[in-house]
Symmetry: C2
Subunit: 145 residues, 2 copies
């Protein structure tokens, strides 16, 4: 699935694959995005509020559809939990998303990412993102007195 | 965290731990539920539409709150994808949920479950569930002609 002249990258850690995923997301680069995923029929992608996409072709089509819009997103991961074993790794985080160049529109999602060590290095096999509930302002700020 | 007289179970596969999780969920048994989880500060639980709970105490408190209501739920997993390695396993599925004894209220969630092989057997380290979008009836039924 790599276009001619582009060598598929080898990610030597789950963190490298995660970085490539979010860089491709921000760049809206479908080929770079799919290079972060395993070429497998068992990969699963769930965009916030969207249907569950299973398999390489469905996952790729989902990104193509998402990147077709003009929306430019920027991500910052917060409260990251990473569990790594020799063959599989899980990353859980809060995704803080900024929309547009002026950064005026913001949102948050809860995400679970899973990475598999394949013969071609670490690749994503699961991205599950769902809208984070809106925090009550008084909870975040604490009591006034 | 196991009450006196109850031996903590050893789950010999991710599937066994998953079964224990859903049986405890249906039985609304907090102790059985937490016996399916790793006793770890890195466990994460996301109920549909809820905040992200991190750590054993927060995850347990979330189940206690959920089980305090009278709602009796029954689960059927559909379109299951399981990726297993020697140390970590991922389960992705659509959860069909039935509420109440007459089964009149139904809903669906998309879930990601992750299991870790610990010295005490396989245990859950992540449950991420989010509401499944409502399917358009014509898609499910197909054309009449």
């Amino acid at each position: 699935m790599t276009p001619p002249g582009r060598t598929p990258p080898i990610f030597t850690s789950p963190a490298d694959a995660a970085l490539a995923f979010y860089q491709a997301f921000e760049a809206r680069d479908v080929d770079a995005m799919m290079a972060a995923w395993a070429e497998d029929e068992d990969i699963v992608c769930v965009h916030p509020g969207g249907t569950r996409l299973v398999g390489y072709d469905a996952v790729r089509a989902g990104w193509e559809q998402l990147f077709a819009s003009d929306a430019r997103l920027a991500f910052r991961l917060d409260q990251v939990v990473m569990i790594e074993t020799v063959g599989l790794a899980m990353q859980s985080a809060v995704e803080h998303v900024t929309l547009g160049t002026d950064g005026s529109q913001r949102g948050a999602a809860i995400c679970t990412n899973v990475f598999l060590r394949t013969p071609s290095g670490w690749r994503m096999v699961m991205h599950h993102a769902s809208p984070a509930p809106v925090q009550v302002a008084s909870e975040a700020k604490g009591p006034l007195h």
